[in-house]
Structure formats: C-alpha cells, structure tokens
C-alpha cells in the first residue's frame, strides 16, 4: 500500500491541475467583482452630453430602475456592444443611460451620430472622477440601478444578446416583482 502512496500523491496533483484548468475556463480572470452590488449607487451629478448646462444626478433618477451603460468613442469593445444595444436596447424595458467615460464631447457626439443613439439620456464624465466612485475600470460596463438607487447588477465587458437574455432580463424581472418604492 505504501508503495502506491506516491502515485496517489501524483494523482491528486493531476486532479488539482485539471481543476485549475477547468476553473480558469469558467470565468474571465480579468473580471473583478464589484463590491457595489446591492449597495446604493454613488451620489453623482454629471452634465448631459448634449446640454452641459443641465446636470443629472442620482437623486433625480430615483423612482424607476434604469441601466447605466459606460461607453466611450475610443473604446473598441463598445463598438462591438453598440449594435446589440441598438437592436435590443428597447426590449429590456428600462431606460438606458449612456455614461460617456473620459471622452471628448465632440468625439462622443460624432460617434453617436454615426452609429446611432440607443440611449434615453447621455451623461458625460470627462475627468473620470465619478467613474472611480462606480468602480469602473474599463469600458464598456453596465450597471442596473433600481428605483431606490441601489445597484443590483453589473456587467463588465460588452452586453451580448446572451448576457441580456440570461443575466440582465432576469435581473430586471426580479425588480419588477418587488413592491414599488
């Protein structure tokens, strides 16, 4: 029996190795889960992209759930996500607020004019200060905020049709079941 011990030790290492490979294919290793989920969205007040004299704040948006979608004209993955928002954005049933991240306003406007505007409202964060409060570390990112101003779901990376069906829509449906705030 003790002669087989090293073999079992080896087998254990092989199993661990296999598990490691499997585990790493199961999730995106670059993804950092947000600590903000189920916490109130940070208080923000940002100007509208098309009219900087008007600001939008967390408190003015209270009452109804909405989706914040962080995008920028320089962001390549946002270009991949954009057609998905154009075709399926209306189907999710909550307003989508474009969060223009560290972008020149003119570039952002040109980008939206060229590719279409799937957003109900676009706010601009040129400095990226508020984005730090949201824990944004890359674009695109999406936050589902409920009527009480609490972040309920976050998607890091482009929203794909699959992610919308399997993650976003169920999260929105769960919100609808809750009593209105």
């Amino acid at each position: 029996m003790s002669r087989l011990l090293p073999f079992f030790g080896f087998l254990l290492l092989v199993v661990l190795f296999g598990f490691g490979i499997w585990w790493n294919t199961q999730h995106d290793q670059r993804e950092v889960p947000s600590p903000l989920i189920n916490k109130p969205a940070p208080a923000f007040a940002l100007p509208k992209l098309d009219d900087p004299s008007q600001t939008v704040s967390r408190d003015t948006l209270l009452g109804k759930p909405y989706l914040i979608n962080v995008f920028a004209s320089w962001c390549i993955a946002c270009g991949e996500e954009h057609p998905v928002l154009m075709t399926q954005g209306k189907s999710i049933g909550v307003p989508i607020i474009g969060y223009n991240y560290k972008d020149a306003p003119d570039d952002a406007k040109a980008w939206l004019a060229q590719h279409g505007n799937p957003y109900d409202l676009v706010i601009a964060d040129q400095e990226g200060r508020t984005a730090i409060d949201f824990g944004v570390y890359g674009a695109p990112e999406s936050f589902l905020v409920d009527g009480k101003g609490v972040i309920r779901y976050k998607r890091i990376g482009p929203l794909t049709p699959e992610a919308i069906e399997k993650e976003l829509k169920p999260a929105i449906a769960a919100l609808a079941k809750e009593p209105a705030p």
Binding site: S2, R3, V32, P35, R129, I132, Y137, G138
Partner: protein
C-alpha cells in the same frame, strides 16, 4: 588574430561607450514613465505616496501596481490617492476608499478573513504536513536500523522506499 591589440582596445572602448549610452537612454525612459509630476509637500510625503501606490494593484494591467502602471486609470487613481493624501487621509483610509470601489482585488496584501484563510495559511499547512511526513519517516527508519536484523537478505516486498 587579425586585429592588433591597440585596435582591439579601441574597439572595446567604443563598444563600452555605446553600451553606456544605451543604458543611460533606457534608464531615462523608465524614469520618465515612472514620474508623474505631482506637487508633493515634501520628500516624506512622496516616499509615503510611492510606498502606498506600490501596494495597490492596477485594475487594467492586473499584474502591475499603481506606482508602475502606465494605464490611464492607474494615473487617475494615483491622482485620487494623491488628493486623498492632501486631505490628510491615512494609508488605511485610502486603501479602504479604493477597496470600497474596487474590492479587495486592489490590495496586493489581501486581508485575513474567511475566504483568504487558505491563501494565507495554506502554504504553512502544506509545509508542516511535509515536515511531519519527513519526521515520521526518519524516525521509522531510525527504529528499523536499530532493531536487530534477523536476516540480511534483501526483502522482495519493495516496501523500502
């Protein structure tokens, strides 16, 4: 032996000079990247800033720290850390500020808690287990060597590893 010794010496000197210049050039590039012109109050604050940002991980290039990273976000976060320092926040408060936004991932030294027990003490546990195996084996062998051997024939059990 084609070259005369003097020629060779000259060539070496030229090579050496080129090498020096190259090194100088590279070091200056590295230096220029590391420096973010921030108006520190004094040298002590700068040292503190450097030490703190080295302990924080950049989220974009995830194997770099905030001090070294060239990512745009890393620069923003360095400025954020700098501003918090100016507001008189302690290192712990600044770390907590970033953890609240980006989770424990930003810390190179993860805190000891339920989910990190294995990470912190796993290697020690494995080391102790290994030590225990070694001690047991050595003792057993010592006892076997002391025991009077009845027959000296090699045993065929193969249990003698």
């Amino acid at each position: 032996m084609r070259d005369k010794p003097t020629q060779r010496r000259y060539r070496h000197r030229v090579l050496g000079a080129l090498l020096q210049w190259g090194l100088l050039l590279f070091s200056s590039i590295a230096f220029a990247q590391a420096i973010d012109p921030l108006p520190f109050k004094d040298h002590a604050q700068e040292v503190r800033f450097q030490a703190l940002t080295r302990e924080l991980r950049c989220l974009v290039c995830q194997n770099e720290n905030l001090a070294d990273s060239n990512a745009d976000l890393a620069r923003d976060l360095r400025h954020e850390v700098f501003d918090l320092m100016q507001q008189g926040k302690s290192d712990e408060e600044i770390k907590q500020y970033l953890v609240d936004r980006y989770s424990d991932f930003v810390l190179y030294d993860p805190p000891v808690q339920g989910s990190t027990v294995l990470l912190w003490f796993g290697p020690l546990a494995i080391l102790l287990a290994g030590a225990a195996v070694v001690i047991v084996t050595v003792r057993r062998r010592g006892r076997a060597a002391q025991a009077p051997t009845v027959d000296d024939k090699p045993n065929d059990e193969g249990d003698d590893w």
